[in-house]
């Protein structure tokens, strides 16, 4: 059972990269958070302690000053040492004396005042007017009711902490990116041998059987390369043997077939001298020897493709003329030709003999399975020349449209085949496919464009280069 998936499945490399990135993110976030927390606590404690120490010392000074004489409270207050951002305030007999007019009674939190008035020293961190402050309050040891307060701005510290926080977040992001990069690189390294094997397999599938994977020093990978190469070698050998076998068999059949052909011709020459029954037998033999000959020729051609020794005798061919000639040679039936007049002088680079076979095979195919070709079309489609052969038979079902070009596949049920007289050997269309592939073209089946039942085989050949002007020397018929 497969789990339903809501996300597209990610590749191995993406997953490794993501895992590295998430790991780096978690780790760096944890580090950043704890660093920030400790630093903050530490700094605040330090600030509080130093502010408190100073405030207590100042309070003692103040108390002495007040006890010594009738003091000028303001002057006394100003005389106390204070770091920047510290604002002393004196509470003297119910009156407030701020050293800095903008930091008076209002700047102090009520709870702190109450605690101090109750007789205890206290300190408190709070927010006033949108900024963070630390206030320290000390009850003065005097005869009168007096208390000393100091309001210290923690804004600078907060800003420092904020900057530190940003730096840490940035560092965490960079670390995450580095983690992702590292993951990506590691995944690539790990996957590289797999990719190489994959590429080699693709080459082999494409027909380059000699492809091998480079041997590796890494013991973990060496085995992969080695077993892949062994497999490739075994496959190559096997295919070679099969190819050689098919080719040898066909070659061996050549000589007896030549003898058969010649002997049968002699018999045919003397057909009139034969008794009725012998004549009937001879006719059967003639038909089947011809079929046999065609089959061997096709098999030889196919084994040449397999052995990779096929080469095209390429000439510049006037395609319209070739189609006309090929259709005429392939059948006695009068098939309507629909040739684009623009193509009159257009040439393609082609092996004339093979292209003729292609057209002949398509027409044969239509005759055997489609009740005969009903139309042959030649036109230019983009930069390609397109030849189409149509019939009005049953057509080819979608699922058979690729398979029909396989060897010995007729794309028809056994019953249908019987009605076609059991002719045809199922190599015709595969030869078409191979020939067209050698011509760097394309062949496929489609429905008839007019919507009627029947198959339409289409061959597309590349790049009809500029048309060679005719000197009238081709008009020979």
């Amino acid at each position: 059972m497969k789990r339903p998936r809501f996300l597209p499945r990610l590749g191995l490399r993406a997953r490794i990269t993501i895992a590295f990135a998430v790991g780096a993110l978690l780790l760096s976030a944890l580090l950043a958070a704890s660093t920030w927390g400790f630093t903050r606590q530490n700094q605040l404690d330090q600030r509080s302690t130093s502010a408190t120490t100073l405030a207590v010392a100042n309070a003692e000074n103040m108390a002495q000053g007040i006890n010594a004489a009738t003091p000028d409270l303001q002057e006394l207050l100003q005389a106390q040492p204070r770091p920047t951002g510290a604002h002393p305030i004196l509470l003297y007999e119910g009156d407030w004396y701020p050293a800095d007019p903008s930091y008076g009674e209002d700047a102090l939190p009520r709870e702190l005042i109450e605690v101090v008035q109750g007789g205890d020293d206290a300190r408190m961190r709070y927010t006033y007017d949108g900024e963070v402050y630390l206030a320290v309050g000390v009850k003065l040891d005097t005869d009168v009711d007096a208390a000393y307060f100091e309001v210290v701005s923690l804004e600078e510290l907060e800003q420092t902490l904020e900057t530190l926080g940003f730096s840490l977040i940035a560092a965490a992001l960079v670390t995450t990116l580095c983690g992702a990069g590292l993951g990506w690189w590691a995944a690539r390294r790990v996957l590289r041998p797999l990719n190489r094997v994959g590429a080699a397999a693709k080459d082999i599938a494409r027909g380059d059987l000699a492809t091998r994977v480079e041997a590796s020093d890494d013991p973990d990978l060496a085995q992969l390369a080695e077993s892949f190469n062994e497999m490739a070698a075994a496959l190559e050998q096997r295919i070679e043997r099969d190819t050689r076998f098919a080719s040898n068999v066909s070659h061996e059949l050549r000589s007896p077939l030549t003898t058969l052909s010649a002997s049968i011709t002699v018999l045919e020459n003397h057909r009139d001298d034969m008794p009725e029954r012998a004549r009937a037998a001879l006719d059967l033999m003639v038909a089947d020897v011809n079929r046999f000959r065609q089959l061997i020729e096709d098999l030889l051609e196919i084994s040449r493709f397999d052995a990779g020794v096929m080469h095209l005798d390429v000439y510049e061919v006037r395609v319209a003329e070739l189609v006309m000639q090929a259709v005429g040679a392939a059948t006695d039936a009068d098939i309507p030709l629909d040739i684009d007049s623009e193509l009159a002088g257009v040439v393609v680079e082609a092996d004339k003999r093979r292209l003729m076979r292609v057209i002949a095979n398509l027409i044969d195919n239509a005759a055997k399975y489609g009740g005969g070709a009903t139309r042959v079309e030649l036109r230019q489609v983009d930069d390609k020349v397109q030849i189409a052969v149509e019939d009005d038979g049953p057509g080819i079902p979608d699922e058979d449209r690729d398979r029909i070009f396989d060897r010995f596949s007729r794309g028809l049920s056994a019953a249908d085949r019987r009605t076609s007289g059991g002719e045809g050997v199922g190599l015709g269309l595969s030869l078409v496919a191979e020939h067209i592939r050698l011509h760097k073209g394309r062949v496929f089946v489609e429905d008839r464009p007019d919507g009627r039942s029947g198959a339409r085989f289409v061959v597309q050949l590349p790049a009809a280069r500029g048309s060679a002007s005719s000197n009238g020397n081709s008009a020979e018929s």
Partner: protein
């Protein structure tokens, strides 16, 4: 006099069957099993057409062809295993006039032979003297001279030259030449023309690599000029 055909084929059954088929056409057939035997038979009594299988034990078909060609312009048909190997070109270069691939239909063989025989005998007595620079063609005598020197052409080469000369300056496509010289329809093998043109050039041109008379017209064919 009956037409004599010399066949060289090492497979006895093929040899016999082909002999029977050709005899049915009314021709006299002389068989030989090896190249050496064939050369001996040919020097004893020349044939009208020679049919050579390329794959022979000992002296191979190419060599037999070359040796016969050395002092005879007899029409030669090569039998090759495959149409798409260089065997065909090599056979034609060795001097063969035409080729067949196994397994061939005897009717095809006799058609080829008849075409070759026609070529060997055909000479249009009314043809005029033709002159192309240093090249002189006398069709009714079957003679070609270059700078006054008579040169030896095979029947097919001669027919090819005369065909090109029939319309000086006109471009002949391979198809047309195949039909007029070899008697093939549209689907003859263009290599027949190409190799014969090459062979012709080695004989009629001063510099065959840089032909002055038999000129290739790319994508169209060949033409003859002065």
């Amino acid at each position: 006099m009956a037409t004599r055909i010399l066949t060289v084929e090492d497979d006895e059954r093929i040899r016999t069957a082909v002999k029977l088929a050709l005899e049915d056409e009314g021709w006299t057939v002389e068989e030989s099993e090896t190249g050496e035997e064939a050369l001996a038979a040919f020097s004893r009594k020349a044939a009208d057409v020679v049919l050579i299988d390329i794959m022979l034990p000992g002296l191979d078909g190419f060599e037999v062809c070359r040796r016969i060609r050395k002092d005879s312009d007899v029409p030669i048909v090569m039998v090759t295993a495959r149409a798409d190997t260089h065997d065909v070109v090599a056979g034609l270069e060795a001097g063969a006039d035409d080729y067949l691939t196994k397994p061939f239909a005897p009717k095809e063989l006799s058609a080829r032979i008849r075409a070759l025989l026609r070529r060997a005998r055909a000479s249009d007595p009314a043809s005029p003297h033709l002159r192309f620079g240093d090249l002189e063609i006398i069709p009714d005598e079957g003679v070609v001279r270059r700078a006054g020197q008579e040169i030896h052409l095979t029947k097919t080469e001669f027919k090819l030259l005369v065909e090109l000369a029939s319309s000086p300056g006109r471009v002949f496509s391979r198809e047309v030449l195949l039909e007029r010289v070899w008697g093939y329809g549209y689907f003859g093998d263009g290599r027949l023309v190409d190799v014969h043109v090459r062979r012709l050039r080695t004989k009629v041109e001063n510099d065959p690599a840089n032909p002055q008379h038999v000129v290739t017209v790319r994508g169209l064919g060949y033409k003859l000029q002065a």
